[in-house]
Subunit: 326 residues, 2 copies
């Protein structure tokens, strides 16, 4: 098992990417790693690289402001493109990147291609709930204008992923909507409701955003605009509330602060437990990390990549697609 | 100044509606009140009703499950319809309801009508920010499928409202989007960006959902589907985080719990500070309260209704519309 890491992408690259990889191996991580990036820089930051970790040298990188497709055309060996290519060539079993999401999507599509039958790959994130298990939300930004049939695709992909990664058979699928009744919503969701009801999936109906966190459904689908707004609302509000609480808790003593931090850490979608967002629908494991990811998040993302590669959810997506077309 | 209160609508009606009205008058509320509902029930719950409060008897009410328009056609004297009619007839200066939002919208449209030039009235809510002032978000549910020009309408209405209620001249207007750059977003927001840039408004560009709470803009516009998801995400996540914190804080002692409660109370959009959602675009003051509203929220909603009626934002909306058409 080998996981490729784009060490050149992200707000804290390459330091935090390398630190995350180091943590992973020092804590008995089972997979071998391929660090994709500038060898000289990598060796400066990590002098005693173990055997389980190899370097694939490239000094090209897609910068945050660049147009993904233009950049990838010019930079054939951009770190993110190399990562995707390693997966394509079966030299790696999956890859993670914290660089430009657009570039990672483009590189994944160009190198890995789409799973046969999938029209629109989607970015999925695991969100915390009041219960033990998380809820998988997709799409959170890959597709801003979608048709009802795309929401069914998202549901099929999410269902297969959740089943394989969380070990839940026939996961409960919900449709993000602004009311519980079938007739509620906009044109998109009203039509999608009927399609999901008629699908082979375990569709449990509409889910309102305030009920999302109660875990009524395992997987919830929406268009990428709505999903992105939902995800960023969660991030922004979590930070706001945490800030206010910690300010008060500081005056109440260090122990209070620590305990409170611990109690709500898992509710921020950008915390390590929710480390990476699988790009579902491309023909291989491609995990999107937040640009702000630091070492603990990267370590967890590597673990998730290993689980993803082992689970072979890509095959299950193909199987679910066939079943649904019957 | 007279405010009409639909005491029959809401999860805790009529008790909490009446308790809220009582609180308002007992704390030297300046306006006179008209309680619209079943006189017998009202008198049982409030035996010594003061002179500043009159009762308008009706025993008809639109139930939560009913189709708003069908219900209003059958029940000419539904409490919410009576409230809107009192405003129309200038017997009240504004009204509040915690009943079915759909019924309140329909009653407001039927009785008050739209402001000339407004095609789509919108529900607006004030959300908390890290700073002192809130951010007004609209639409949060009245219009699920909109055209770019409707977002400009929302911006005009929101600008006029914010200027009058928060005393900020030329409020900063933002467009809810999934990226900061002009070219980001879906078809709706890309077109709306150009229209807003060319408008007479103080447009500050795209606002991402995680920056919403930082207060970069005073007013942020989006379609009602996105706005509703954003609002409910905030509610759901606030409750989830508060629950986790209070559970930990309880074991740390009552004083800790109290202080923490105080520090984050204002971040839940359904807290009293953010008591009611003005329905902008109808020709009169119509404030939507959450169905779960209890007495403190109702008291604050009455205060907000008084401010709204005094401010005469309805006239400013008309003026802004004319200016923008020049």
């Amino acid at each position: 098992m080998k996981i490729a890491i784009d060490v050149m992408g992200g707000d804290f690259a390459p330091q935090e990417l390398i630190a995350g990889a180091k943590n992973y191996l020092q804590n008995d991580g089972e997979a071998n790693l391929i660090l994709v990036g500038d060898e000289k820089v990598i060796r400066e930051l990590w002098v005693d690289i173990p055997d389980k970790c190899e370097i694939y040298h490239t000094d090209e990188v897609v910068e945050m402001g660049e147009h993904p497709l233009h950049a990838l055309r010019k930079k054939k060996n951009a770190s993110v493109a190399v990562c995707a290519r390693l997966v394509k060539q079966a030299k790696a079993d999956g890859f993670i990147s914290a660089g430009s999401t657009g570039a990672q999507m483009a590189a994944s599509l160009l190198e890995l291609g789409k799973i046969t039958g999938i029209e629109r790959p989607a970015i999925s994130v695991m969100l915390p709930t009041a219960g033990e298990s998380g809820v998988l939300l997709l799409d959170v930004g890959a597709n801003v204008d979608v048709r009802p049939s795309h929401l069914v695709e998202f549901a099929l992909m999410g269902s297969a992923y959740y089943e394989k990664i969380c070990g839940v058979e026939k996961p409960k699928i919900g449709l993000m909507n602004i009311g519980e009744e079938e007739a509620k919503g906009n044109e998109l969701t009203k039509t999608a409701y009927g399609l999901l009801k008629d699908s082979s999936l375990n569709f449990v109906g509409n889910v309102e955003a305030d009920h999302l966190f109660q875990g009524k459904a395992n997987v919830v689908v929406c268009d990428g605009f709505v999903g992105n707004v939902l995800l960023k609302t969660s991030e922004g509000l979590s930070e706001l509330i945490q800030g206010a609480i910690f300010k008060t808790a500081m005056s109440l003593g260090e122990e209070t602060l620590l305990q409170l931090k611990k109690s709500i850490k898992r509710f921020n979608p950008s915390s390590p437990e929710y480390s990476a967002a699988p790009l579902l629908g491309v023909n291989g494991v491609s995990l999107v990390c937040h640009g702000k990811s630091k070492a603990p998040v990267i370590t967890n993302a590597i673990k998730l990549a290993v689980n993803c590669a082992k689970s072979n959810y890509v095959d299950l997506i193909t199987k679910e697609l066939t079943q649904n077309q019957k």
